[in-house]
Amino acid sequence: MSTPPIHVFEPKTVIGIAEMAVSTREGDVLVTYALGSCLGIAIYDPVAKVGGLMHAMLPDSSIDPQKAALYPAMFIDSGLPQLFRAAYTLKAQKERLLVYAAGGAQIMDSQQFFNIGKRNYEAFSNLLIRNDLQIEAEQIGGLVNRTISLNISTGEVRLKVSGQPNEVTLCKS
């Protein structure tokens, strides 16, 4: 007699648009869906087993500081520093933090009027350079919608691309 299949359900914490979360809880999976031109940014400290995930919509908070105060993760420049600080409170250390990114899709727009995706990624990479940080792995741009998840126990970062049946691993820690 064959063994019946066992389904393993991971507990998932869904991060909505303009939201962020950090976790150190064993077995937790942080996930954010349907990035579009938004940027999904994951950070992970493999020693402290602390991770965070953010779903940022726009590059620059100066267009609406009031919204940035209400929803820091709406903007790259207001959200990213908060994401790092939140991870530090859970004993993550800057030099150990691995940084991952996905999203920033772009339409076919040679005149660059509709280039939010590209501007999100530029704001993100400029901020990393200024803070002496590097990207561990990324999947950026292109014509597709993406979902990104981070497993807090293992540090594994997975990607699901809209219209493709299977998830892919962006990085195994």
Binding site: G36, M57, M108, V144, S162
Partner: protein, 282 residues
């Protein structure tokens, strides 16, 4: 032209016609709106009536007491709100099925349409244009995909390959592989359903609004709303971003590209309404 009609005729499961929308929309434009006529039009369809009342009593719209009377709902919420509810309910019915040919899961086309409709409506509100017209045109803008999805199902691998390899937009790839594209066939279907010429033109040219003469403004609202919905992740399916940038849509509406992020923020703030409408498809 005849070929396009044959495409429509070949489809076995067309969505139920949102047939009362054109008549409701024309009532809306009259100076004295006849509530009785509105109530009797909606009342023809019992499931539509039930859905409107359900929405009327939902957390977002509900006042202190609930109602199970359509006349009361119309009086309480006003015809404008009721109209959008009817449009939303009809849209949900037509658009909720999965469309495998495009890699679209159940409910996704509907979610995209609602998000984009709300975004386009916000843009129209700023310019003082008819929000209800924009909202209606928007809900139905991708209805042509329902017709083409079946034909694409067997060749979508080719479609993806073509968009990737040639940097070809989805619309061009459809035209090349099938001889028709979804915007045109959607416009044709709405004309058959007797929607007004402005909505027909706006849907037909929602990927090339400059060609929608004399309805370029309406088509441009649809184009810009579509962009905003895609940016915010409410695009869908294979190669969702395989669309051409049409800067002329901004010129036609006389808005700057710098305003797009602000419209995204406003749309974000309307997500609660959007979420309420999503549940219609369930």
């Amino acid at each position: 032209m005849q070929e396009l009609d044959e495409h429509i005729n070949k489809v076995k499961h067309l969505p139920p016609t949102p047939r009362i929308l054109p008549e409701l929309l024309s009532l809306l434009n009259k100076p004295n709106i006849d509530n009785t006529r509105v109530v009797s039009l909606i009342g023809i369809d019992p499931s539509l009536t039930a859905n409107v009342l359900q929405l009327c009593n939902s957390a977002y719209f509900a006042s202190s007491s609930t109602t199970c009377d359509l006349q009361e709902a119309v009086t309480r919420l006003g015809f404008q709100t009721i109209y959008r509810m009817v449009a939303a309910v009809s849209g949900a019915k037509a658009l909720s099925a999965p469309q495998k040919g495009y890699g679209i899961d159940g409910g996704e086309l509907w979610k995209h349409s609602v998000t984009a409709a709300v975004a386009a409506q916000l843009v129209a509100k700023r310019s003082g244009d008819d929000e209800n017209l924009v909202f209606t045109a928007y809900l139905l803008h991708d209805i042509g995909k329902i017709i083409l999805s079946g034909a694409l199902e067997n060749i979508y691998a080719t479609l993806i390959q073509q968009t990737q390899a040639n940097q070809q937009c989805l619309l061009e790839a459809e035209k090349k592989l099938l001889g028709v594209q979804h915007a045109e066939i959607g416009g044709r279907l709405l004309a058959r359903w007797k929607f007004p010429p402005n909505i027909v033109a706006a849907v037909w040219f929602h990927h090339s609004p400059a060609n929608a003469n004399p309805h370029q403004r309406l088509a441009s609202y649809i184009y810009v709303g579509n962009m905003i919905a895609h940016f915010m992740g409410h695009g869908y399916g294979h190669q969702a971003f395989a669309m051409k940038g049409r800067a002329e849509s901004l010129e036609i509406l006389d808005i700057s590209a710098d305003l797009l992020p602000h419209f995204m923020i406003e749309t974000f703030e309307q997500l609660q309404v959007i979420e309420t409408l999503f549940h219609l498809s369930g």
